[in-house]
Amino acid sequence: MFQGLNFPPLDLPPECTEIRAEIRAFLAEERKLGNAKNIEAMSRYTPEYSERLGKAGFIGLTWPKKYGGHERSALERYVVTEEMLSAGAPTGCHWIADRQSGPLILKFGTEEQRETILPKIAAGEAYFCIGMSEPNSGSDLASVQTKATKTDGGWLLNGTKLWTSGAHISHYMIALVRTSPLDEKDRHAGFSQMIIDMKSPGLEISPVINLSGDHHFNEEVFTDCFVPDEMVVGEVGNGWNQVMSELGYERSGPERFLSTFQLFAELVDAVGDDPSDHEAQVIGRLAAQLIVLRQMSLSVAGMLGQGLVPANEASIVKDLGTNYCKLVPDLSRSIMAAMPSQRSSISYEATLASAILTVPSLTIQGGSREILRGVIARGLGMR
């Protein structure tokens, strides 16, 4: 009776077993090069890794072959993703392009955009970032102010995008901009999406250093930055609907519950194979929740693969999954005392430090906990 509580069990088809073995073999080689065991693997940027992954045929898995894709199923892509993240491989460079920019271009882009851009993404050579948030637009995305004004052969952009993950290593941004002024009666009208070449004149990128001292997100200031007409994605004015469809890819994937998996693995090693009752119980609690979250996420992947739009289910997976990621350092501390430090030579201590310093972001980005719970409550008919 409620919307959002439908999680049918999913059987992974046999081809998933094959591709799992293939990606595991690939990742085993990468491990030898040290490309493994990263907390929050989606924010580790290693272009050589992404290029090798692309060459090995693991990017753009579901896209048509004529655009450089591999015509595999959404579930095969799911398996590849969960294997990469659980291995802690540095997937940052190609992550956003593969997960959402590519699919967006495939769905709404022009034939020319597909032909020129998608093969480069699939090769692991073109990286994307998402320009949605701004200094005054976070959860309330409809308040975006960056303005595109029509000019000869294109648009002139003015405004500021903020918190843009990986803008500094990206070749392109897909920006959400206002192409018509705000209409108070329909706040969602008048938006468009544009592909922006990060080398464009009039675009200035500056780092925003995060609390761990890392350079992950950025600020971009647009001053009369020219964007040719050919770079508009989809219809002018349809930006809001396009962005909303993009969020579907974003909420329920394995990244939502695997961000601190490396710490869980370190914890298991630190405790050893003969845990006390209490240690076993805590480890088992983390494992049980993880097993169930994975089944929920798989179920959503199965529904997405059938063309359904399980938006409420996806919000539940993200809410539970990100809370779970926060539980990992909390419970780890409760059974394995340590002084967390990113400089520690003891890997448990270093990983614990990274986890503690990472988790605050998880319940904010991609729809904050409060926004997700609002979505879930709407599915319950309360608003």
């Binding site: 009776m1 409620f2 959002g4 509580l5 999680f7 049918p8 069990p9 059987d11 969960e82 294997e83 659980s86 291995a87 998996f261 869980f264 693995a265 370190e266 914890l267 298991v268 090693d269 405790v271 050893g272 194979d273 003969d274 845990p275 009752d277 240690e279 076993a280 119980q281 805590v282 480890i283 088992g284 609690r285 494992a287 049980a288 929740q289 993880l290 097993i291 169930v292 979250l293 994975r294 089944q295 929920m296 179920s299 289910e313 539940i316 809410d319 539970l320 409060e370 997700l372 719970r373 609002g374 879930i376 409550a377 599915g379 319950l380 008919g381 309360m382 608003r383």
Partner: protein, 356 residues
């Protein structure tokens, strides 16, 4: 799962739902808790063929699968049905695995755990039971009990009249009979070695799965009740459902319900496919954990009304608080899972998780 099975299951679910909606009103639950057996409810559900749905036809059952039985149990959980449906099902599975015919009527189920021992021995022409089991569900005077007992190192199943044993009657938080049963040379009606697919451990796990499914049903129905209550109850001039704090609490319950449902459904699904992995353990751990979190928030949203005997929220919550302990609490199963994955080590952890 094929379409035919799906349609069959939908039919079972609809039938169970209709019977329970009509015949398991809150006053029937209250009466049962004070010791009045719900005769009409039992007779109707037994006539519909749902009490032994998972037992092969040649042993007196409906010839369905475990999955079919679990659908009935989910509905039973949703309506707080005060009948030994899970126990009768487990008893039937044990008896039929041993080639025995399953009798009609409700069956209590006694499965010794930890250092409890019940022995079965030949005495002249008869077989007799000796020993004691605690927490026996639905050992009611005049009824029948199915007991798992040891005979010279072999696990056997025995059918015995409850009146042949000494019953120290107790109840759980929901007023369901949970007794300590002592056998002292109690003569059995029938007995045989358990079939090779079934042993005490698999029955314990099936019990855990049954409770998981019942909790999933109870949780879902509790969510519906609670959301409805927040939309009906008006304070400060509007339904309390309009307050964001209340909306977010319901969203948290919904998350717990979703996790519990998924865990229980996937466990049943994989059990039927023959490869449950760690899913039964995870299902009981997760549904039991969800029970506490969700019940707390459901009571909070109901205010004082939910704390009364008159309102039937407690039919769900007292069962959730009972069932989460039975067949291993979340802590019990977390320990089991923790031991297993610890053996895999950090490098093998993902494989241990994803192979399920």
């Amino acid at each position: 799962m094929n379409t035919e099975t799906n349609e069959m299951r939908q039919m079972i679910a609809d039938t169970a739902d209709r019977i329970f909606r009509d015949l398991c009103e809150p006053d029937v639950v209250n009466a049962a808790e004070s010791g009045i057996w719900p005769t009409e409810l039992w007779n109707t559900i037994e006539e519909s063929g749902m009490t032994q749905i998972a037992v092969p036809e040649e042993h007196g059952g409906g010839g369905g699968s475990i999955g079919d039985a679990m659908i009935v149990l989910r509905a039973a959980g949703a309506y707080s049905v005060p009948l030994p449906l899970a126990e009768t099902m487990l008893a039937g599975i044990a008896l039929s695995s041993a080639g025995q015919t399953v009798p009609g009527g409700p069956l209590g189920f006694a499965l010794p755990v930890d250092d409890e021992i019940v022995t079965l021995a030949q005495a002249g022409d008869d077989y007799v039971l000796n020993g004691s089991v605690g927490q026996v569900a639905w050992a009611i005077p005049g009824g029948q009990l199915v007991v798992i007992a040891d005979m010279d190192g072999q696990e056997c199943v025995a059918l015995v009249d409850a009146d042949a044993a000494d019953i120290d009657a107790g109840i759980n938080l929901a007023g369901e009979p949970r007794s300590t049963v002592t056998f002292d040379g109690s003569k059995v009606t029938a007995c045989a070695p358990l079939g090779n697919q079934v042993d005490g451990e698999t029955l314990f796990k099936l019990g855990a799965l049954a409770r998981s499914i019942m909790m999933a049903g109870a949780l879902e129905s509790m969510l519906e009740m609670t959301v409805q209550y927040t939309m009906d109850r008006v304070q400060f001039g509007r339904p309390i459902a309009k307050f964001q704090a209340v909306q977010h609490a319901m969203a948290v319950i919904a998350g717990e319900v979703a996790a519990a449902k998924t865990a229980a459904d996937v466990a049943v699904h994989l059990l039927e496919a023959g490869e449950p992995g760690l899913l039964i353990e995870a299902a009981k751990a997760r549904t039991s954990e969800a029970a506490g979190i969700a019940a707390e928030l459901a009571h909070q949203a109901h205010g004082a009304m939910g704390f009364t005997h008159e309102h039937n929220l407690h039919h769900r919550t007292r069962r959730l608080w009972s069932w989460r302990e039975e067949y291993g609490s979340e802590f019990y199963w977390q320990k089991v899972i923790g031991r297993t994955v610890s053996k895999a080590g950090g490098d093998g952890l993902w494989k241990a998780i994803s192979d399920t």
